[in-house]
Assembly symmetry: C2
DNA sequence: ATAGTTTATGCAACTTAATTGCATTTACTG
DNA sequence: CAGTAAATGCAATTAAGTTGCATAAACTAT
């Protein structure tokens, strides 16, 4: 993934091109798995905690990242598809959490099955999180 | 739900019967919705924060409560079925989070559909979280 | 290119959640 | 009811999340 492409992604989302944002995007692309604020702090030591925090929030609002529900108590983020926008996330793919290595993956290819709810409930989005053992740890 | 019954639930899970544990269990039974550490602190003011924290953890290990994945950053807990045990949770029901009132419900009656994963992945548990508008807020 | 404007960053500070150690109290067992 | 094992409260620490503000950097329009 070239830096030029990353810059255009930022511009397409009406975000200014900064070193921090480029680095954060590259980190997500390299890792492929979901990342937390703490992961960024460990890896991207040149930036302030608050800057990373705000970068995550900007990406979230812009539709570059989505938040993945988890049990750990700290927020986890994954890269969005191209189809995501500030107006709405199309991130109804499954998430897989490995109980051995702890990594959270987005299974982009797997769509979430239709769910039926009791009458009166209005569905807005569906999140499916599967726990188990990933390919690497099996 | 009588206090006697609650006591036997605790004993069945090899937990000593204490006021705090009884009160926490009653609170969960009254509320019916999922609760967080903060909820307990607001309601059960007579107990130390740490005691409530450890009560939640004990209930989690014993299979009385299960943790519900969420995006908020603070852990949320729901009552387990009778079928849960320290050896394994059978909490594969759906969870519903209302985007208006914020409450998280366990939809016990709705089981999670079977999921198929890419080859090499081993499934241990499945969590389905539906966001939308609940009956009360609709 | 550059001056002017808007936005991002770093720093300080604060709030809340999660967590651990230890002394004391309480619940169970015989 | 005495002895033991576990639960509680208190103090203290770590980490996550959050905000305000001054400065620095990125963009825009000459």
């Amino acid at each position: 993934m070239s830096t030029d492409h990353l810059k255009s992604v930022l511009k397409n989302h009406n975000l200014r091109v900064t070193d921090c944002r480029i680095d954060v995007m590259e980190y997500f692309l390299d890792e492929k798995s979901a990342l937390s604020q703490g992961d960024l702090e460990s890896k991207l030591t040149g930036y302030d905690r608050v800057t990373l925090y705000r970068t995550l929030n900007n990406f979230l609002e812009s539709g570059i990242l989505h938040k993945i529900p988890n049990e750990s108590g700290s927020a986890t983020y994954g890269l969005c598809h191209d189809t995501c926008s500030p107006e709405g996330h199309m991130d109804n793919h499954m998430h897989f959490k490995c109980n051995r290595c702890g990594q959270i993956e987005c299974l982009d290819k797997k769509t979430v099955p239709e769910v039926s709810l009791p009458t009166g409930y209005q569905v807005e989005s569906v999140n499916l999180i599967v726990d188990g053992v990933c390919v690497k740890c099996a």
